[in-house]
Every structure is written in structure tokens, then in C-alpha cells.
């Protein structure tokens, strides 16, 4: 059962009709191939038109789409010999952050991601992708592991943000995030970060302070959720669409602001419609960004990363 977003309803209707016609034209039925062809073309056109001009709020909904490939989908398909590692060595294992060792295009790497889960059971297991301090401390551990063994680090970011909870605060959520950013900035190895869905604030940047930062076409990256921003600035979370517009959180906005390096095109209708090619495109983009970094010395990598972030927001944006 495909999950359609509200603004995809006209497309859903067309596709429903096509489906119906197909059933009718099955052996013994009437031949309506022409009609199906016409409708398919229409649906395709509609899909293309809709996705060519998604509003920032619609992009937010696409970025959060339940069928969108999640971090573990990218890891499963892009990383061979994936060997998950667990725990912060101090308190707990936090499955909101997944990661471990593996091979990317034949090369040994450390991989990290925020995982939202794909169904009720896995969503609960991964706490909907919202990590607690132990998650960020595990991330830091794996970032340092990558440095220790000179393995490139690939991260896949998809989180609505760090978990806001009593226990998380008691164990130093803020410090854990800060240390994870610091670990990224100190790493003597290449870091390629990809925002695959939701890049939610501090919980995202903790894993996204990379030499290269990529973003999927319909991903969002923001300092606060549109709902959160709306409830503070508009005093009404129902104004989320307005806030999404104002926050400039789309991939195109981020690229324009020179905060991300590359936008990875998604299949027509979004990564959720056609996950295979989406995952493949990410693999290709990550490899293309990673290769030139492999020749750099540890210090050069650190300097590049630091200079990159220092330059952000310093230069005027046209």
C-alpha cells in the first residue's frame, strides 16, 4: 500500500484509475491500452509538474515521508561487510544512531547514521531517529575510531533533532552533541556527510560537520522544525508552511547559501517512489566527493574542514 501525501492526491487518483483499467484489460477484458497510455502520460506529467515546484513545506513532508529510504537502507545497499558497532562505553547503546565498520566500493570505512525506523516496531527501537547523549557519545567514539585507523567516515543524516527528555538532559545532551561536533572537526580522515531526509538542528550537525556535505534534492536542513519556528515566531504551529518558507531549508536554499556542496537529484516523484535509484545516486555522489579527499594528509583534511566552516556565513550571499 503506497502512502500518498496530500498534495499527491491528484496523482494518486490517476494512478488508481490506471490500475483499474489494467485490471479490466486483463485477458478476456476489453482492450484499452491506448487509454492506459494516455493516463500514464498524464500521471507522469502531473508528477513531474508537482515535484518540479514543491513548496518548502511540501518538501518537508517529502523529507519525512514514511517510505523514504532511511539511513539503514543506504547502509545496507552501499556498504558491504557492514559490521554494526554498539554503545558509548559508559551508559548505553542508543539505536537512534546506527553505525559501524564496512566497505564502501571496496574501501574500508566507518559509517554513521541517524535512523528513524521504517515501521512501528523499528521506529520505537530507533526512537524515531532522535538520539540521546549516549547516541552522540557513541558517534564520537566511532568518529575517533575512524581517525585511529585512518578510515574515511561516511554519515547519513535523517533526524527531527536530538531527543528532548529529562534523562537526556540529566546525562548532558548538550555536551554530547558539542563533543560530537568537535570530534568531526578534529578527525584526521575524510568525512562525507549526506542529509538524506530531515537535517534537524543540533542533532543533525553533530554528524554533519564534514569535509563535504551533500543533500538530497527533497531533503531539508534547518535550525528548527517549521512547526517549532511557527509556534515561537507566529505563536501558532499551524503556520508551519509559512515558517518553512521563511527558514530557507530546502537543498536549493542551502546550496545558494553555500552551506552544502552538492545536491543529489532524486528520482521523479521523490526517493520514496523509487528507492533503488535514489540509493544508487547517493552512492555515486558520495564516491565522487570522497575520491579527491583520499589523497589529502590528515592535517590538510582538518584544515580544509575548519576553513570550510569558518567561511560559511562570512562571505556575502548573492
Amino acid at each position: 500500500m503506497r502512502h500518498f501525501l496530500d498534495f499527491e492526491k491528484p496523482i494518486a487518483e490517476l494512478e488508481g484509475k490506471i490500475e483499474e483499467l489494467r485490471r479490466m484489460s486483463e485477458p478476456g477484458g476489453i482492450n484499452i491500452t491506448d487509454e492506459i497510455g494516455k493516463l500514464t502520460e498524464k500521471a507522469d506529467k502531473q508528477l513531474r509538474a508537482t515535484y518540479a515546484r514543491l513548496t518548502p513545506w511540501q518538501k518537508t513532508l517529502v523529507a519525512r515521508h514514511p517510505d523514504r529510504p532511511k539511513a539503514l537502507d543506504y547502509i545496507r545497499h552501499l556498504i558491504t561487510d557492514y559490521t554494526p558497532l554498539a554503545g558509548d562505553r559508559a551508559f548505553a547503546e542508543d539505536a537512534a544512531i546506527v553505525g559501524g565498520l564496512g566497505r564502501f566500493r571496496g574501501r574500508s570505512v566507518v559509517v554513521l547514521g541517524t535512523e528513524k525506523g521504517a515501521d512501528t516496531e523499528t521506529r520505537i527501537r530507533h526512537n524515531f531517529g532522535s538520539a540521546k547523549p549516549e547516541g552522540y557519545r557513541k558517534a564520537r567514539r566511532l568518529i575517533e575510531l575512524a581517525g585511529q585507523f585512518r578510515l574515511p567516515l561516511l554519515t547519513f543524516v535523517d533526524t527531527s533533532g536530538a531527543f528532548p527528555g529529562i534523562d537526556a538532559e540529566a546525562r548532558g545532551q548538550a555536551e554530547a552533541i558539542a563533543r560530537s561536533i568537535e570530534a568531526c572537526l578534529s578527525a584526521p580522515v575524510p568525512i562525507v556527510a549526506t542529509i538524506i531526509g530531515e537535517g534537524g538542528s543540533g542533532g543533525a550537525i553533530a554528524l554533519a560537520t564534514g569535509n563535504r556535505v551533500l543533500m538530497l534534492e527533497h531533503a531539508i536542513y534547518s535550525v528548527i522544525s517549521p512547526e517549532g519556528c511557527a509556534s515561537i515566531l507566529w505563536r501558532d504551529s499551524a503556520q508551519a508552511a509559512l515558517a518553512a518558507e521563511a527558514l530557507k531549508l530546502t537543498a536549493a536554499d542551502l546550496k545558494h547559501l553555500r552551506l552544502v556542496d552538492e545536491i543529489i537529484a532524486e528520482p521523479l516523484g521523490g526517493a520514496h517512489r523509487d528507492p533503488g535509484p535514489a540509493v544508487h545516486a547517493v552512492g555515486t555522489a558520495v564516491e565522487n566527493q570522497l575520491l579527491p579527499l583520499l589523497g589529502l594528509e590528515p592535517e590538510a583534511l582538518r584544515v580544509q574542514r575548519r576553513d570550510k566552516f569558518l567561511a560559511m556565513g562570512r562571505e556575502g550571499v548573492a
Partner: protein
């Protein structure tokens, strides 16, 4: 202050006779409700003499209280692109900025100065909560980097007074990027082996705590200060539990190992001076050999 005119004024009048008392001569403590003579409150660094409640202070006041004789040199903060998102909600961000500047007399939510504390050379940055909630946009991030560079140049410790609601929403992802940028500022100090002393004041939350404010060599908090990552309301809505007594207050953070000490404002200068002396012994006390250089790559050592 309507409360003052409606209720207290008659009592003050009785106390002081029939003389007209300007309102600003007296303040009321928000914690114990007692009236405090303005001069006394000022002398006591805005700490209530009755209940020791620490009232919020401005960035300018903090600089004055910190440096010797209240004397310091402010540095001009680097210029950053204004309003990168052309943001507007009910108000245009540029108008909010203009209002905040008029209200506080500051360019943005951070002020950086250098001078001496008990004779120790120091660079001090102080955040201004009254400037759009002390939020961290590009100007604050750039100011923190400038403060760190100045400290390195002067071989002086950096003291940062934090007061912030977190990110500057009106700068969107540009504001988010100030988290790694401010972390770079802390790394500059660390690499130069210069002390970074963080003084957490009421309130410090969000992206500011989740970056430079939690990366000091020593974390000091003012009594009762609200310090945390997530806002109390958001936490309550998420976990649907009542927050424990004193949650996210300085004392709670001390109990949970997140800050080293809670220091009363009136003792702050002495503590800062002592820490600077202990962390940076005078040159003659050093044996003469330079501190061993950090291995080229600490992770591989």
C-alpha cells in the same frame, strides 16, 4: 512598574516621609519580593541582599564587574552579511535587529573586550540576552572566533559569559552553522593551551549549550541559572512527565556532573583570577622548557 505605584509606593513614602521617591531608586526582588535600594543592588552586582537571588545582568555590566577597575577595551566585531535569509515573520528581521540595537546599544548579542583581571591579562566575551534572546547568528559566531583569535594573539585566557535562548531562528541554517564555528573557536584556545573558562548565566539553552558553552576547560555556573539543551515545555510535551524540582538549574547540572562549580556573582572575579593563576603559572615558575608540542596527530598517538 505598576506594582510599585499601586502598592509599594505608599509604604516607601511612609518610610521616607512625604518626599517624592523616583521609581528607579528601588527595585523589587523577583524571588523574595523584597524591596532593594538601587544603589545597594548595584553594589551587590544585582544579587538580592535578602535572598541571594541572582538577577539577570547585561553584557556591559558583566564586563564592568569582571575587569580591574571596570576598565577594558572593547574590540569591534567582524562584519557579517546581514539578514542572509531576508527573513520576516510578523516583523522583518532587519527591523528586529534595529530595535535590538537601539534597546541594548550593542551591535549584536555578543560583546568582546580585553583587559586585566586581578592583574591577569584576559579576553572576555559576554552575551546579551536582551538582544533577540542572546541568540547565536553569524555575528555571534564570528565574534566568538574573533575573541578566540584575540586570546591566542595575546596569549591570554578566554572567559565567556553565556546567556542565550539558542539559535537565531531568523538566520536559519546559517545560525545552525555557528555551532561548528563556535566549536572551532574553542579548539583555537585548546591548541594554544590557553584556558577557556565558561561562565553559564541565566538562561543558557539550545544550540549555545550544544556547542562552545559545553566545551570549556572549566564550567562555572551562577546560582539558580537555567542551563539546558531542550526547552522545558518541549520536554514536557514529549515525555508527558512533570519535570523534577530544580530541573535544568545550575545546582541540578552540578549534581549531574555537567558544571564544575557554582559561584556567586560577588565571588566570580576572585574565582576567575584564582583559576587563571592556577592554570597559567607566572613565567618564572615554569622550568624554562616549553610545553611539549601536541603530537602531529593525537588520534594516532
Amino acid at each position: 512598574m505598576s506594582w510599585l505605584t499601586e502598592y509599594v509606593r505608599p509604604r516607601i513614602r511612609t518610610l521616607l516621609g512625604q518626599r517624592e521617591v523616583p521609581e528607579n531608586l528601588w527595585s523589587q526582588c523577583p524571588a523574595c519580593q523584597q524591596m532593594i535600594f538601587a544603589k545597594e543592588l548595584e553594589k551587590n552586582l544585582k544579587v538580592c541582599p535578602h535572598c541571594a537571588h541572582h538577577m539577570r545582568a547585561t553584557a556591559i555590566e558583566r564586563l564592568g564587574w569582571t575587569f580591574d577597575d571596570g576598565a577594558y577595551t572593547r574590540i569591534e566585531l567582524p562584519k557579517v552579511p546581514v539578514d542572509p535569509l531576508a527573513f520576516r515573520d510578523s516583523k522583518r528581521y532587519v527591523d528586529r535587529l534595529r530595535e535590538a540595537r537601539t534597546k541594548t546599544g550593542m551591535e549584536d548579542a555578543l560583546i568582546v573586550a580585553h583587559g586585566t583581571i586581578d592583574g591577569h591579562r584576559a579576553v572576555v566575551g559576554a552575551m546579551e540576552f536582551d538582544f533577540i534572546g542572546g541568540s547565536m547568528g553569524a555575528a555571534v559566531g564570528e565574534g566568538l572566533v574573533a575573541a578566540a583569535r584575540l586570546a591566542v594573539l595575546q596569549e591570554a585566557p578566554l572567559i565567556l559569559y553565556t546567556a542565550s535562548a539558542g539559535a537565531r531562528m531568523q538566520e536559519g541554517a546559517v545560525s545552525l552553522m555557528q555551532m561548528p564555528r563556535s566549536v572551532i573557536a574553542t579548539m583555537l584556545l585548546k591548541e594554544a593551551r590557553l584556558p577557556l573558562l565558561i561562565v553559564l548565566t541565566d538562561p543558557t539553552t539550545g544550540g549555545v549549550t550544544a556547542s562552545f558553552a559545553m566545551l570549556g576547560d572549566i564550567h562555572i555556573a551562577e546560582p539558580g541559572a537555567l542551563i539546558g539543551f531542550a526547552g522545558a515545555r518541549v520536554i514536557e510535551q514529549t515525555v508527558r512527565e512533570t519535570l523534577p524540582e530544580g530541573f535544568q538549574r545550575a545546582e541540578y547540572l552540578h549534581e549531574h556532573g555537567i558544571v564544575d562549580m557554582i559561584v556567586a556573582r560577588t565571588d566570580m572575579r576572585d574565582m576567575l583570577s584564582r583559576l587563571m593563576a592556577l592554570l597559567r603559572p607566572p613565567a618564572e615558575a615554569i622550568t624554562g622548557e616549553p610545553a611539549p608540542a601536541e603530537p602531529e596527530d593525537a588520534a594516532a598517538a
